[in-house]
Amino acid sequence: MLTLTCPYCGVAAEETELAPGGEAHLTRFGPGSSDDDFEAYLFSRSNPKGVHFERWRHAYGCGKWFLAARCTVTLEVFGTYPAQCFAPPPELIAAIKAKRPEWKGFQ
């Protein structure tokens, strides 16, 4: 069973305690944006086979949203970090690069 550590309350939560929230770090586009940007924001997803940054909510715990880096092939969790970030922490990116040399990097 997938286990993620909540960066807020520190609990190692199993997936039944968490609610998945889809891809993280999407750039939001609203009224006034171009059709391309708005469509991409609403629908297009990177859906990688490998390293994926995603949102989770500690739904049956502290209730906070947080972000996680996980491999979609092996389910290895590289780390979790607070939701108030525009990009993953550099040390997390370095840790992923060390484990997955072929990874293209955070885009």
């Binding site: 609610a19 889809g22 297009s44 997803r45 990177s46 994926h52």
Partner: protein, 415 residues
């Protein structure tokens, strides 16, 4: 190709079955094809088959990174139905169901189509209303479905507990001509027919790159060398985003793991397909006697072909309440398939930003039932370069334009 018939069986029986030839060839890839179809699952093979049969395009290669029919075609629960709500979906799923009716004869390959009837249980008031609406929609679309009351459900499925209390059966959406087929045979039958038309089925050949030049497809790089093509059809379900990434565009797709499991074989107990969408479970009995059970999808992106344990538990817990007799059965196998989910739970049959590349994906949890119809529509799209009437509404531009084909009720999880 030698035709399969009762005379062939008799002839081979007399010579100890030594004379059966290979059902399809295993050629080396050529340098160039008119059309390369990536993905030798049901949808890819059906696309190739109808390209040859309906449009006379036979210079076709179907390539697959694994073995033929080894992805979702070999992992589904073989349900065939067409009781969808929206007109475009009803058209393509009913075309598909209708093609299944005579597919064994068309392919000269027994796909064991069994139109045993299919029930979608209504276990909440909202579901009952939703399904009654679907029955009315189906009547207008010319698809035979009925709303049936609990007493009739019990008559069709005597092993069902309709009284609840937790999940009472309030009625059901019944499609008498829905059913199942042998999933591997569908892939094998199409493969045999494609090979017979001179198409090359190349297994264990993984696409590693898509070559484009000036916004136009040029060919693919594979683990068995470069293959040039005029047109490229991507029919790879859960891996659609990976292939699209190689070609330089993104899709509105997320890949999730959907699970299924089978019980030990028992005597005939249930002769219809039952789907219970409130509890995310569906069940039918295979010809071998196993109960084939489908569960829910994981909520997070996933390429593992396994699925989460808690979903099995939830599915089984709910099904045991609806079918008390299964509570002591042992389960033999469990597996997952990677389903490609779109936001509106409807498929994508479309041209792409790269000229000459066509994509067929997004069938999500409901791919098996749509194999013939999908291949039929995709073949027209690839052959003509523009979608025909079946595929017209399923283009990628529907997301940009807000013309969704919302099937989240019809598709739910159990598809």
């Amino acid at each position: 190709m030698r035709r399969y018939s009762i005379f062939a069986v008799a002839r081979e029986g007399l010579r100890f079955h030594q004379g059966w030839g290979r059902a399809w060839a295993a050629p080396e890839p050529k340098k160039k094809y008119e059309v390369v179809v990536v993905g030798a699952g049901g949808h890819g093979l059906a696309t190739a088959y109808y390209l040859g049969r309906n449009f006379g395009i036979r210079n076709v290669a179907i390539i697959d990174k694994g073995w033929l029919g080894g992805g979702n075609t070999g992992r589904n629960t073989t349900v065939i139905r067409s009781n969808y709500l929206q007109d475009p979906s009803a058209a393509i799923y009913e075309k598909s169901r209708a093609l299944y009716e005579t597919l064994s004869q068309d392919l000269n390959y027994n796909i064991m189509f069994s139109p045993r009837g299919l029930l979608m249980l209504a276990q909440t008031e909202h579901e009952a209303r939703g399904y009654k609406r679907t029955v009315h929609a189906n009547a207008l679309q010319g698809i035979e479905t009925q709303w049936i009351e609990p007493a009739r459900v019990k008559e069709l499925v005597p092993i069902m507990n309709i009284a609840g209390p937790r999940y009472p059966v309030l009625g059901a959406l019944y499609q008498p001509r829905g059913g199942t087929a042998r999933h591997d045979a569908v892939a094998w039958g199409y493969a045999r027919a494609c090979s017979d038309m001179g198409m090359d089925i190349i297994q264990n050949c993984e696409v590693t790159g898509v070559r484009t030049q000036g916004g136009r497809v040029h060919g693919v790089d594979t683990s068995r060398g470069a293959i040039d093509c005029d047109k490229l059809a991507m029919v790879v379900a859960g891996n659609a985003s990976v292939l699209a990434d190689m070609a330089g565009f993104r899709l509105p797709i997320e890949s999730l793991s959907l699970q299924a499991l089978v019980s030990e074989p028992i005597k005939p107990a249930i002769n219809v397909v039952v789907m219970a969408n409130t509890v995310h479970g569906y069940m039918s009995q295979s010809d071998k006697g196993e109960l084939v059970i489908g569960g829910g999808t994981d909520g997070f992106n996933n390429y593992t072909q396994r699925g989460s344990w808690n979903h099995i538990e939830e599915t089984i817990r709910a099904l045991i309440e609806t079918f008390p007799i299964i509570s002591r059965l042992k389960l033999m196998r469990q597996w997952g398939g990677i389903v490609d989910m779109t936001g509106d739970r409807s498929p994508i049959l479309s041209t792409t930003p790269v000229e000459g590349i066509f994509v067929n994906c997004g069938w999500g949890t409901g791919g098996f039932k749509s194999i013939p119809g999908s291949g039929w529509a995709m073949a027209e799209l690839v052959a003509k370069g523009t979608p025909g009437p079946l595929a017209a509404e399923f283009g990628l531009n529907r997301f940009r334009e807000g013309r969704f084909i919302d099937e989240s009720v019809a598709a739910g999880v159990a598809h």
